[in-house]
């Protein structure tokens, strides 16, 4: 009903601002990116940014939320795809890692932003970050927990710790891939990740 009233998501203007801001901030950092630049790249006037968002920070927070929610959705999808295909939980995790790499390849800015800000404190968007972190971790934790219940994952595995490790490693690896070895095929990077995964969860493939 009043879906459009508060946050008219999908407004072309807002989406274009997300895209522009994402790229620029990922490259230069939040403070070094000016609102003017963002507006210019989005093809709108500076004032338009402020017509659509309270301020620069809010734009950033909504962008973060928007981007990470997409990532979470794709991870969830990958996990579900595995379930549907009758594959095991470890296989599901492998698919999630691949989905993560694909996402990072397509939307590096989001991953970049997330990693760069994740462990800072005293930042205005702390709360937002915490929210999206929880959402991402939840996806991994769910699969790990299922794997544990079904005996596919080692009993000693510490679910929260392993989830955080997998997520962190996935993101950092993806960034490293893009930044320093972009010529490598996804396959190689995925293999390396899967190796780590096997070590981490014990991986008694079914």
């Amino acid at each position: 009903m009043d879906t459009s009233s508060r946050t008219p998501r999908r407004t072309p203007t807002r989406l274009r601002l997300y895209a522009a801001a994402g790229t620029l901030i990922a490259e230069q950092g939040f403070s070094s990116t000016t609102v003017e630049e963002i507006a210019a790249r989005a093809g709108v006037a500076k004032g338009t940014v402020y017509y659509n968002f309270t301020d620069k920070t809010e734009l950033f927070e909504e962008l973060l939320r928007y981007g990470v929610e997409q990532l979470a959705a794709e991870l969830r999808q990958a996990a579900e795809g595995a379930t549907v295909a009758g594959a095991g939980r470890v296989a599901a995790l492998e698919r999630m890692l691949r989905a993560g790499l694909l996402f990072a390849d397509r939307s590096p800015a989001v991953v970049q932003l997330y990693v760069a800000e994740q462990w800072r404190t005293n930042r205005p968007w702390q709360a937002t970050l915490h929210d999206v972190r929880r959402e991402l971790l939840a996806v991994f934790e769910a699969v790990l927990r299922d794997g544990l219940a079904e005996g596919e994952v080692d009993q000693e595995v510490d679910v929260p710790l392993a989830a955080a490790n997998l997520l962190g490693t996935l993101l950092v690896t993806a960034l490293d891939w893009r930044a320093f070895q972009p010529e490598r095929p996804l396959r190689d990077v995925h293999s390396a990740l899967v190796r780590l995964l096997r070590g981490s969860v014990g991986g008694h493939a079914r």
Copy 2:
């Protein structure tokens, strides 16, 4: 080498400025931290910063170099310690991971700065970052290469990729530990890392 002209490298004043800048920038980011704040926290006047460094960026770069060189030294020491003790290469890697965690616990700011900036582009200190990255990776690569040569590490392991993975995972895990689960004993976190390590390198402990 290109030792700063005017003053000796590490006066007490400079060290206090490193400490102040490190903490503040790790928390708030480079741009959001003002020279005034840094000076205040170091207990000197603003002008003093400019007496000791060319500009804010140079302060940051020297701080980065200073901090990461320390980390590299400790990693190297850990590896050497293993050699001296007659332990294998995988054991050396395990000690390095422990050393990394200890360092992060003691100097979180350095790790924070490094991770936050590592995958950005278009930043003024790109060159410095690249240098220190190389230095850190070199430590891991050396040990991995030895392990490979000695047959202790799986033949299929891709040394550069594995080194980057290990370093990235180590740092990210350390940050996550400090930020979100600081009550955990180092032992737990180290175990989880070792698990990943075994997966990664195959780990046929001698």
Copy 3:
């Protein structure tokens, strides 16, 4: 006279805008009051303001004219009432003071605006202010002149000066009353004013 072209002078919408603008500008000043605020308080959209007035300044000028003309009319009425009742000129002035106080109580915004702007220079609505000032002074001057002619007012009284004094004192006293001693009955404030009046004009009540 120079009736605005497009629309009839006093539509309900315009009157609501006057009321909204009057209150807000009296409280916050012209520049600190936004067109958006005015529109919101009047319950219309921002564009509507521009449909009804050329710009923000014109709205303010018309509001000023509208309000002060009302005050002038009430002062005139009070004077005439005295004449009809066969009272003297000093009594007429006393009635005018009462009428002024009543008006200020009812429409404080108008008085507020007038006083705050009256002695500024370099303001866009200078001309308008001068007009309405003349209109107000004329009412006092007429009565004073009659009183002088009829010997009821001291011969040494300087009519323009006395008129300006009476008007200024009336308005300032009214504002002070509302702002700082609103609990006082009108009667008290009126008495104090009448005292000043007697001093000013000599007041040989008939």
Copy 4:
């Protein structure tokens, strides 16, 4: 001791900013006067304003305080001068009125600012205004109270009301004089004020 630490009053820079800001704001109003203009007129850079004051509002408040305190001091002096000369309380009030006119002639900006803001609400400097108002009123009230005690002032006079009336009338009259009849000698305006005064307080000159 640390007089100079917090508020280094008398710093030429600050005084020049007071003078510049006073004139400009009196003419154009607070919002219509830019910090740039103020700095330019004071012969300093824009940043200097912010080095000396927190923000534009604080500059204005300190200016207000500074200016009105001067006025209060001169009023007090005038009253004391009368006491020393052995004149009565009504004579003291007359001297105060003259002192007020002289001050307004010399520093019209201060009076202007005070009157324009005095009866607004919802302004950031409300508290400051209230303070200085109290200070000014106190001077009048003291003399009136003495006059009452000594029988020189009518028993029915309401001291707070009369003080507010006298102050308001003085200031408004001074502004009117400067704005609309600057050719008039001070003597004329003073006479008119004294008339009002006599009416107000009864004035049984000794």
